[in-house]
């Protein structure tokens, strides 16, 4: 099979990149950015902490794996049979790294010199797993330390506490690294099972941006990519009801400032529909946290919020939430204000002038994203994994109306599907 090459161009900005469906099965995105010195390459698989249940076309039964295994695998892939990957990057000067999120695992490097050698290292080691029980056992302690460290991070705890009250079955509620107990069940054999399932090039994407040419990138890909047969991967999530489990959760920690997350559980979707919904959701959230609005200024004057008041749309396979967050001693008052604002929209509608202004602001932030090598590489990779094109967001934004935002708020920002998660100062429990 030959590789298929196509150009993707933004209607709004004229920016463009190349998409290649490589003969090996891999999707490749390349953005040449003249004038920039750096190169960023991301090699990712659509495999994150939520993928705990899966099967391939020929499997009779579902495989269920311990929580935290995707993250564990990411750590272990950095060790080759004969050396550690960081030792190889040290010879090119590149800065190598990796991360596991809820729905993806990504290996990356950033460099300004020798990018071709670094790309060879990246493509090579990700395709060459080497797991032994001895190495697995050794890693338990380090990851255990990581889990302990994140448990001291209030912004991490506040999120997972919220998710645990929001999702009954979906594994998004589980810490990405798992627990010390769950990772103790991980074996070398299980790592190979997960690797063979998810690190199939048909389930992966390579994104390269910066000081490169598409021709050079593809030449290296042709040399190093080992063709994979599409084995019909199917990931499954337990059935998740629309309802939440409980509306409020509190935890005390040794912190200086109390903080909260107030999240709305929304119905999930995928592909272009998810992107449209994300744009409507983030515009609704931006209108509510708009620092030019009367509500915001009123809450600020009364010190119910401070300038950390913000919002984000958090979504992926099988989950979609809109979260409001702030360091505040008055989370209940903020909750009331957010709900009152949504109710006001239902009777008065959304202020068109404010909507157009927020839209312009979002457009500006999307332009800024195209100004940065890291951001462009991440945009190409994430868009592909979300089933859309890199410039779809900027193009779809121009079509967004205030009615779309109102409809989203009416249907999804429901009080009975919202959770308030608070991290209180130790010794000040209510």
């Amino acid at each position: 099979m030959m590789s298929e090459i196509s150009n993707i161009t933004s209607r709004q900005t004229g920016d463009s990149c190349v998409h290649v469906k490589h003969s090996s099965g891999l999707d490749i995105y390349i953005c040449e950015m003249p004038g920039f010195s750096s190169t960023v390459a991301l090699f990712g698989t659509k495999y994150g902490s939520v993928n705990t249940m899966f099967r391939q076309r020929d499997d009779e039964e579902m495989t269920v794996v311990p929580e935290g295994i995707a993250h564990f695998l990411e750590h272990k892939l950095f060790e080759n049979e004969d050396c550690k990957v960081f030792e190889l990057y040290a010879k090119t000067g590149a800065s190598g790294n990796a991360f596991t999120s809820f729905d993806k695992t990504v290996y990356l490097f950033k460099c300004s010199k020798n990018w071709q050698d670094s790309l060879r290292i990246l493509l090579d080691f990700v395709q060459k797993p080497y797991f032994t029980q001895e190495l697995v056992d050794k890693e338990m302690g380090i990851i255990g330390q990581e889990i302990r460290m994140t448990n001291d991070d209030p912004s991490w705890r506040v999120l997972f506490n919220m998710l645990s009250c929001m999702y009954r079955s979906h594994p998004v509620k589980i810490d990405i690294a798992g627990t010390e107990e769950s990772i103790s069940k991980i074996t070398a054999e299980l790592l190979y099972k997960c690797y063979d399932t998810f690190y199939n090039l048909n389930n992966m994407v390579l994104s390269v941006a910066g000081n490169i040419t598409a021709e050079q990138v593809l030449k290296i890909c042709d040399e190093l990519l080992i063709p994979c047969q599409d084995k019909g991967l199917e990931t499954v999530f337990p059935e998740e009801p629309d309802e939440i489990i409980q509306p409020e959760i509190r935890e005390a920690q040794p912190i200086g400032a109390q903080l909260f997350y107030y999240g709305f559980k929304c119905r999930d979707c995928s592909g272009e529909e998810r992107l449209r919904k994300t744009l409507a959701a983030s515009t609704a959230a931006s209108l509510i946290t708009d620092d030019a609005s009367e509500m915001y200024q009123d809450l600020l004057k009364k010190h119910i919020i401070n300038t950390t008041f913000d919002a984000e749309v958090f979504c992926g396979d099988g989950f979609f939430t809109v979260i409001f967050m702030c360091e505040s001693d008055y989370p209940e008052e903020v909750r009331s204000a957010v709900l009152a604002e949504i109710e006001r929209w239902k009777t008065e509608g959304i202020d068109e002038k404010a909507f157009q202004r927020i839209k312009k602001s979002t457009y500006g932030s999307l332009i800024r994203e195209l100004n940065n090598v890291d951001a462009v590489a991440n945009l190409m990779l994430s868009s592909h994994m979300d089933g859309v094109s890199p410039y779809d967001a900027i193009d779809m934004l121009s079509e967004l109306t205030s009615q779309d935002v109102l409809r989203f708020a009416e249907e999804e920002l429901r009080e009975d599907r919202a959770v308030l998660s608070i991290i209180e100062k130790e010794g000040e429990k209510q």
């Binding site: 000067g93 380090i142 400032a257 200024q297 401070n306």
Partner: protein, 420 residues
């Protein structure tokens, strides 16, 4: 890229960096003053008040509305610590006019907003307006309180407080709860006026195209101020304590933190920086490979060198039972360098990593801006390729010498609460 710096008045530099690849323009106006416990909070608040409101935009809502209408332009004030100095300022960034859907003059409007904030603040009769100032002050107090939320950052701040006790660098760049609480709108305004009068000023614009009149506008505004700039000293090495001190704080945490401060009287800053890279800035550095990977004593164990204070700081996340072993191993790794144990590969990796970082300076507007500012603080304008030559000239012998100059000054520990 074209860089040009002009001294537009005594103690005021104006730098223009034209780099056609960017889609945004940004400006940073930096004021450099001595850091002191008496003035740090007032200075930080005097600067923060400038970007809350201005004469032209007398409520935060009006100013924020204008910024979001200009395609979400960013406008912020900042206060940072640089050794014994406080670097305060206002920065802004916005997308270029060619991306304006409705043909707005974004650059013209933003430069006017920035100048308005700096030179026509929302103040009368020697005081900032009460209501916006109250918001600004509450926000700063909240920020001070929230420092404990980030345990690693808190540990580093406490370690600096202990290591540089009695020196300006022991202070926070925002002041503390008591000093910030005591700042009134009059005190903050007086601090602002004092900054305009006495600070060393560096204005830096990074843009894909020339912005006609920008320099002249700032020159005009600044020439109206009766200035008497106070010279500042960018490097002031910290004296070492007679005996290493260990301080600790106990709290209900899952992971303990250990910050070790080593001090040196060496002036060989490039050798010191290479030493820090070899010790603990890369995943192939000695501390990562040995303290974390080989002995599994810490989750992270990293080093950083502060040339301004002559201090090498090593911070780690560690279990309580491993603190003693980790400390011993960190000191042993430094001793190995003192004994000349640096492989050619370690030296080459450190240099390659420096080379790579230097080559990528200029890939963001902020990196260009801070690059030239930092070089000025270090004594002169130099391009990344000039600095690379300084790194290349560092020999193994110089790194060994640098390591031998280090002495343990202090250790700061965040301890978990022992059970039973």
């Amino acid at each position: 890229m074209r860089f040009q710096r002009t001294e537009i008045a005594e103690g005021i530099g104006f730098s223009s960096i034209i780099d056609e690849k960017f889609k945004t323009t940004s400006i940073a106006v930096r004021f450099i003053v001595p850091l002191s416990s008496e003035t740090s909070a007032a200075n930080a608040l005097g600067m923060a008040a400038l970007t809350t409101t201005s004469k032209a935009y007398p409520t935060p809502a009006l100013l924020n509305e204008k910024l979001s209408a200009l395609y979400g332009a960013g406008l912020t004030s900042f206060a940072r610590k640089r050794g014994d100095l406080q670097v305060l300022g206002v920065s802004a960034s916005w997308i270029c006019d060619r991306y304006a859907i409705d043909g707005e003059d974004i650059s013209g409007e933003m430069l006017s907003i920035v100048r308005g904030c700096l030179f026509e603040p929302d103040a009368e009769n020697g005081r900032f307006s009460d209501e916006p100032f109250a918001i600004t002050k509450t926000d700063l107090l909240d920020r001070i309180e929230a420092e404990l939320n980030n345990k690693r950052g808190y540990a580093l701040a406490k370690a600096a407080e202990n290591a540089f006790r009695g020196e300006p660098a022991a202070n926070s760049c925002y002041g503390n709860k008591e000093t910030a609480s005591a700042v009134t709108p009059e005190i903050a305004f007086s601090a602002y006026e004092n900054i305009l009068r006495t600070a060393q000023v560096e204005i830096t614009i990074v843009s894909p195209e020339e912005i006609p009149g920008a320099e002249a506008d700032f020159r005009r505004e600044l020439s109206a101020i009766d200035r008497s700039p106070v010279p500042v000293v960018f490097r002031s090495k910290s004296p070492i304590k007679a005996e290493p001190e260990t301080l600790s704080e106990e709290m209900d945490v899952n992971q303990c933190k250990m910050v070790m401060t080593m001090k040196s009287d060496s002036d060989d800053i490039y050798a010191m920086r290479m030493l820090s890279v070899i010790l603990g800035e890369l995943p192939v550095s000695k501390l990562f490979l040995n303290v974390r990977e080989k002995l599994s004593l810490c989750y992270y164990c990293a080093s950083g060198y502060s040339a301004t204070k002559g201090a090498l700081i090593i911070d780690s996340g560690v279990q309580r039972s491993n603190i003693g072993k980790a400390r011993e191993e960190i000191l042993r790794q430094i001793q190995l360098v003192c004994d000349g144990e640096i492989s050619d590969q370690e030296l080459e990796s450190a240099l390659l990593s420096r080379e790579d970082i230097l080559a990528s300076v200029g890939d963001t507007p902020a990196s260009w801006s801070s690059w030239y500012f930092e070089r000025l603080c270090e004594g002169g304008i130099s391009a990344p390729e000039d600095v690379l030559l300084d790194y290349k000239a560092v020999t193994k012998a110089r790194i060994v010498e640098a390591a031998r100059s280090l002495k343990l000054d202090s250790v700061w520990l965040m301890l978990d609460k022992e059970v039973g």
